[in-house]
Symmetry: C2
Subunit: 112 residues, 2 copies
DNA sequence: CCGCATCCCAGCCGATACTG
DNA sequence: CAGTATCGGCTGGGATGCGG
């Protein structure tokens, strides 16, 4: 494949926009790995995140159609989050980025 | 492949860190497509960018080992930028993100 | 031609406190 | 349990101007 993306109509930012956010990749990985998760489960798995940020990042992912939010009208409240089918399309990209990221971390150590 | 990245040792941010920056993807695309480019050539191809930002983003890419910077000590000055071999590894990822980005732009239009 | 210095603002993110 | 509300710091990025 020696085809080049035309820089002037590049859609990379479109993808970056959905992934950028301090906690988004990690949230997506948990949802992809564990499946549907409650808010409190995610919070427990990512202890350093604040409730505010967890809410915010989830809402943004939801707005992009990548994460689904299901509210159960009970007391106490229960809200579940999951990856949408559409969101699954991101998985190979995340994996590729993770793999490259590992190499890059190594590279930086060598050239430190 | 049904292997999952362990979220607690995810290196996605490592890759995102190198790509995030308002102009980085487009700069990389130009360098990948056109090969070695002078500062002023890039500036001409991306007119909306300021000199300051072009310098800054190039320097950051250089610091990551993705872009090479060659200075010719002439008057007037001449500086050339190119993708390093190491940087080429990013190309498939950029292509995957671009492809997903196209779909996503479409998706958002439909659900507008 | 290439780049640095300065000033400025918007938006991300954290800490903390409060609520149905 | 799953959120909001408020305050405040920090940084990315734009505008503009100077310099070798």
């Amino acid at each position: 494949m020696n085809e080049h993306i035309k820089p002037d109509q590049c859609q990379i930012q479109e993808a970056l926009g959905t992934l950028v956010g301090k906690w988004k990749p990690i949230i997506l990985l948990y949802l992809m790995k564990e499946g549907t998760q409650r808010f409190s489960e995610l919070k427990r798995e990512i202890p350093e995140i604040t409730q505010k940020m967890l809410t915010k990042q989830l809402r943004e992912l939801e707005a992009e159609g990548i994460v689904a939010r299901e509210v159960y009208p009970e007391v106490p409240p229960k809200v579940e989050y999951s990856i949408t089918e559409y969101g699954r399309d991101l998985q190979p990209i995340l994996e590729a980025m993770h793999e490259w990221g590992e190499k890059h971390a190594q590279y930086k150590k060598e050239n430190a």
